[in-house]
């Protein structure tokens, strides 16, 4: 996933009707980019056959 700029985040926030305060844009950008980086190994995982719906403990096999 490409790294976002503060301008990208400002635009995305506005698109979704969110209005972060000016000094918060930088931190949201930092957190999003950090999450994208931390998710890189997760994106390389083989998840074939895995379900996206949480399995309730009652139904776990």
């Amino acid at each position: 996933m490409a790294e976002l700029s503060s301008e990208d985040v400002r635009f995305l926030s506005r698109t979704f009707g969110l209005e972060p305060l000016p000094d918060e844009i930088e931190e949201i950008t930092l957190r999003l980019n950090a999450l994208f980086r931390a998710m890189e190994p997760v994106e390389r995982l083989d998840v074939s056959g895995a379900e996206a719906i949480p399995v309730l403990a009652d139904e776990a096999r």
């Binding site: 926030s13 931390a38 997760v42 379900e51 403990a57 009652d58």
Partner: protein, 474 residues
């Protein structure tokens, strides 16, 4: 009877004294209310102290017990309840200014069951805003750790940890989404259990992440946790995913020996823990071996990626729940850190959320696989002892810092929130600086009884859960 000792006595010691009328519920309640009045200006464990209700409940308990109507071991026991749980007619803020005037007309099912068992409600306990961590601007005061006031009591059931450890209640009702019972229990030298997801009702609790939110007790002993869990567990028609499985008597098997039980120390969690924590877990494992358990090492590779999976999943769900509050006039009522975290969650692409959800399924399979190999998993509850409050409130300055501190170190409690397995934290040593260290025990689905038994047996051989803070350290 020494009154101050009663403030730290477990339920199982107080109950016979109350039943035999050697201690009055009213006197006991007054003792706790006095202690709250003395110590809570610095600890800020409570958002609301329910003095009048507490005394009325205590008088009722006294009258009932006097008439021979004894409801069980929680009858007349003073407790605190996390302010995330609805309490009829009593302010319930979820630690947020956004709910500063919320007075529910229902009881959360778990609190209703405790009330039915005869508890005395001392008050509603402080928490990080909406049960996320990292609150900077605590609307109701910063909850502090009784072992050292400059330290965090853990999050998000912060007040529950602080109050129980400081003798400001006998037991607390907490809520755990990613570690919010186990973390305060570990930081405050207590026992806390997050049951199997679905074992307890979520009805009436302010939600954060529907598929991991879980109520549970924070107490002085594993046996007290067994008592409370036995009362709050069980199907609730108002929570469609609460399990219909029968609730066992969690106390019944606590004294059974653990000889032959297979325990697996989670390698990936040990690798991230600090040396003194690694040593504490190794020593605790030896104690358990001394009790006849067979200890080996197990690997759950995906534990190392749990931080990212949890954030891409639970922070997104939390953000979705609070979308209306993240807009317009409400905006400035938020704590800044909570608002930034949820706004971040609002912008995570669905493809990433979906990938996290599938990875969660792989993690669940890995945890289940490890629990086919052994009966119980053993892990540190945290990297080390309680951290300084400023550390929990620091702004991130670089991507590397966030990846390292927020994601790579989240290997302790959240894996089992995501997998839904029951997990408890019990004190297992003290740090060089005199702070409690916690050991986590994780069991198979709906097998809370075994982890409670291991913890109880461990506590029968060790002194850690009996140590008390002096309440003078700063």
């Amino acid at each position: 009877v020494n009154l101050d000792e009663l403030a730290f006595a477990p339920v199982t010691e107080l109950a016979p004294l109350l039943q035999q009328r050697k201690v009055s519920p009213v006197e006991l309640t007054r003792l706790f209310l006095d202690r709250i009045s003395t110590h809570d200006t610095s600890l800020r464990a409570y958002i609301t102290v329910t003095t009048d209700e507490a005394l009325a409940m205590a008088r009722r308990a006294e009258q009932e017990i006097g008439q021979g109507i004894y409801l069980g071991p929680l009858h007349g026991i003073p407790i605190g309840v996390k302010d995330q749980f609805s309490t009829r007619g009593i302010l319930t803020t979820a630690g947020s200014r956004l709910m500063a005037e919320n007075v529910p007309d229902i009881d959360a099912t778990v609190y209703g069951r405790l009330r039915g068992a005869g508890v005395v409600l001392l008050g509603k306990q402080n928490m990080t805003e909406f049960a996320l961590g990292g609150t900077i601007d605590w609307p109701y005061g910063i909850a502090r750790n009784p072992w050292n006031l400059s330290l965090s009591p853990g999050a998000s059931s912060s007040g529950g940890g602080a109050a129980t450890a400081a003798g400001l209640c006998t037991v607390s009702l907490g809520e755990d989404t990613g570690g919010s019972i186990r973390n305060p229990a570990a930081y405050c030298g207590l026992v806390g259990i997050k049951p199997t997801h679905g074992r307890v009702s979520r009805h009436g609790a302010v939600p954060l992440c529907w598929s991991t939110d879980c109520a549970g007790p924070i107490a002085h002993t594993a046996e007290d946790c067994a008592v409370v869990l036995g009362v709050i567990a069980g199907h609730d028609p108002r929570d469609r995913i609460s399990s219909r499985r029968p609730v066992p008597d969690f106390r019944a098997g606590l004294n059974r020996e653990i000889k032959g039980l297979q325990l697996g120390v989670v390698r990936e969690a040990m690798e991230v823990a600090r040396p003194e924590m690694q040593e504490a877990i190794t020593t605790a494992a030896r104690v358990l071996e001394g009790l006849g358990a067979i200890v080996e090492e197990v690997s759950i590779p995906l534990v190392t990626l749990t931080g990212a999976i949890y954030a891409a999943y639970c922070d997104v769900e939390g953000a979705a729940l609070h979308q209306d509050r993240l807009r317009g006039a409400h905006l400035r009522l938020w704590d800044r850190a909570t608002r930034v975290r949820l706004m971040t969650g609002s912008l995570v692409p669905f493809a990433l959320y979906d990938r996290a959800a599938r990875a969660r399924d792989v993690l669940r399979a890995q945890v289940m696989g490890a629990l086919q190999q052994v009966d119980v998993l053993v892990s540190p509850s945290a990297a080390g002892p309680a951290v300084r409050l400023e550390e929990t409130q620091a702004r991130w300055t670089s991507i590397d810092e966030v990846v390292d501190r927020r994601f790579r170190q989240a290997v302790f409690t959240s894996p089992y929130s995501l997998s839904g397995h029951p997990a408890l934290s019990t004190p297992c040593s003290f740090s060089e600086t005199g702070l409690p260290l916690g050991m986590q025990l994780i069991g198979r689905y709906f097998d809370e009884a075994t982890i409670l038994r291991v913890a109880h047996q461990y506590q029968s051989m060790t002194p850690w859960h009996r140590r008390r803070p002096s309440l003078t350290a700063t």
